[in-house]
Amino acid sequence: MPTFTYGDLSIEVDEDGFMQEPEQWNEEVAKALATTEGVDELTDEHWKVVNYLREYYLQFGVAPMIRKLCKETGFNLKKIYELFPSGPAKGACKVAGLPKPTGCV
């Protein structure tokens, strides 16, 4: 299992850098994971997306539909790509500590 280290932080991730144990997520982890996505500083707009994803995940156990993410945060898809260059699923969800969706997606 690959391990991602950043400063004193050390977390287990999958081959694509997604957290293996999402319950160990915290804000420091988010900041560290963001650096792997080319996001050096998490702004309020980044946190709005990350916090929404986190709350949704804790309630529903999966990532939200992208359309719902856009509606709830008020950011369109283009804006989300500006914030997280790999996009909502691969970028924003990774920073928020969500597992990677699999199947016909």
């Binding site: 081959e15 999966v62 539909m65 898809l77 199947g103 016909c104």
Partner: protein
């Protein structure tokens, strides 16, 4: 997206390598982008599959059981006894080569081991040496090979580089079903813990929650309600489909991506509008919440284990018959395996359209009808009010999804629907559609990101045909009836044919349906402005077009 440019990928060398094909050596490190990650141990543990462990194909030691050769040998022996088809497929091939250039992966890679005949030889050579007299005596001279660790690694590489699309089988003069050879090889690989995560995680999720994505009942309900809110914004019609309702006439089952991911969600909206339009008495199920069955990419036992829930739920809810959505390989399972694995479904009735009275005799055994058959019948009987001009912003072609086309013969129905609900429909060249359709390049569990280079190579013949109609007729929408297609075709066309989008067929049905009491539509189901009304968007449309 792959790091290589289209120009680089198009440098395909069709000359076979000098090395004897019988002596394999695969450098997985050098071939990154063309193989899939192994299954995470948690998924194998959950399913009770053998040999869960952390490993990577790039490792020298794959951590196999000590007696792995014996396990594979016994596994092949058992299957040769159980499946006469396998024995025939092993013995009958004369290596005529009719299949050789029919595989999308061979066309896109030039790798001779992607010729279906040679892919099958990877297994057949072991069969010859271990199970035929000439092979036992003459070994290599008779085309037999010893099962070494290198051969097993080669199996992992090439049997997870076949999408089980069965295009090659169309051209085989003996009718060898090469997908079934891949299926058996994958069964054998599973016996020693060689599987890929993009298959096994959906299998584990599906076993636990009823769908690939691991969506639980409260999330299922929330997703459906959200899509209904979206529909209300666009059409003014508020729909509230029932979930897990006992006594409904019809159980409707879709691939889970249709209520989770773009662009499948727009197809889902189309289904809901259609059922509202005709007043169908139906229910969704939060348990039978997946049409797809990744057991098909794993083993016969796993197919059975996952398919079971659809029928168990139909029985529990007491419905009369099952209607299935735009799912691909579900239909291979239902049409060709379901009856012997989980049948007979004698507690259900032969599907009968409550609107037209048509009885779907072709589904007399499975009791499950394809939504395209159902909708085409409604159209043929004049039961739908349609305004095809609402799809005038689309110039449409149709990709025959492999399994509905080749495993079930759904060829005319989607075309009949498309020609009715839109005004601009164009076919791709004959040798790329219907029975001869080219795979999306990402079926059978290969639609993951780490395998992107192989997906783009395998998808090249399909994309090339799309490019043809894009350039000749200005096609800007590639329709299909499979959720894997809806996930894998968008990056494929973005890479090879920018300017083309992907949708399901029922998305266009939903756009065209004229609903009683609806508000004037100014956008399509995606929230994109309709032609002719784009200059005067209503406030509702502006609100809906947030993506």
């Amino acid at each position: 997206m792959a790091e290589k440019s289209p120009q680089e990928l198009l440098q395909i060398d069709y000359r076979p390598p000098r090395r004897d094909w019988m002596d394999p050596s695969i450098d997985f490190e050098a071939r990154r982008g063309t193989w899939s990650y192994p299954a995470a141990p948690k998924n194998l543990e959950y399913l009770g599959f053998p040999n869960p462990r952390e490993w990577s194909p790039t490792d020298e030691d794959w951590k196999l059981p000590d007696n792995w050769q014996e396990i594979i040998h016994q596994g092949l022996k058992d299957r040769l006894e159980r499946f006469r088809s396998l024995k025939v497929f092993m013995d009958i091939c004369v290596r005529c080569g009719a299949c050789a250039d029919k595989c999308h992966f061979f066309i896109g890679s030039g790798d001779p081991k992607n010729m279906p005949v040679l892919r099958a030889e990877l297994l057949r050579s072991i069969y010859r040496r271990d199970f035929t007299t000439t092979g036992k005596i003459l070994g290599r001279l008779a085309g037999g090979r010893e099962l070494t660790a290198e051969v097993l690694k080669e199996w992992y590489y090439y049997f997870y580089q076949c999408t089980e699309c069965r295009r090659c089988s169309v051209f085989c003069p003996y009718g060898i079903d090469t997908a079934e050879i891949t299926m058996i090889a994958r069964e054998l690989l599973n016996l020693v813990g060689l599987n890929i995560n993009w298959v096994m995680e959906p299998v584990a999720n599906c076993d636990r929650t009823g769908n690939h994505l691991g969506i639980q009942p409260h999330t299922f309900k929330d997703n459906i309600e959200f899509l209904c809110d979206e529909l209300a914004d666009i059409t003014g019609i508020k729909i509230s489909p029932s979930i897990n309702r006992k006594g409904a006439e019809v159980l409707f089952i879709v691939p889970s991506a249709d209520y989770f991911a773009d662009p499948g969600i727009f197809t889902f909206m189309g289904y809901l509008l259609l059922f509202e339009h005709i007043g169908l008495d139906y229910t969704l199920s939060a348990y039978a919440s997946e049409g797809g069955n990744f057991g098909l990419f794993t083993s016969h036992e796993t197919i059975k284990r996952l398919n079971y829930k659809m029928y168990a739920e139909a029985k529990r809810l007491g419905v009369r018959w099952i209607l299935g959505g735009e799912c691909g390989h579900m239909w291979r399972v239902v049409h060709q395996y379901m009856d012997t694995l989980n049948g007979p479904a004698d507690f259900l009735e032969v599907p009968r359209s409550p609107v037209t009275g048509t009885v779907f005799e072709n589904a007399a055994s499975t009791k499950m009808t394809h939504i395209c058959e159902f909708t085409a019948d409604l159209i043929a009987n004049g039961k739908l009010r349609l305004d095809p001009s609402r799809n005038d912003h689309r110039r449409v072609t149709f990709h025959d999804s492999c399994n509905p086309a080749r495993a079930m013969g759904i060829l005319e129905e989607p075309r009949h629907i498309l020609r009715t609900v839109c005004n601009n429909f164009f076919e791709m060249p004959d040798n790329t559609i219907r029975e001869q359709t080219f795979c999306c390049g990402g079926g059978a569990g290969l639609g993951n990101d780490e395998n992107m280079e192989m997906r783009l190579r395998g998808g090249l013949p399909r994309a090339n045909a799309v490019k043809f109609v894009h350039e000749r007729h200005g096609v800007n929408l590639l329709t299909c009836i499979c959720a894997i297609d809806r996930a894998t075709l968008p990056p494929l066309v973005e890479y090879w044919v920018p300017g083309v989008e992907v949708s399901g067929v029922h998305e266009l049905v939903g756009n065209a349906l004229v609903m009683d009491g609806e508000t004037r539509r100014t956008t399509d189901l995606r929230g994109e402005p309709l032609e002719g009304v784009a200059d005067e968007p209503s406030p509702e449309a502006e609100e809906a077009s947030h993506v």
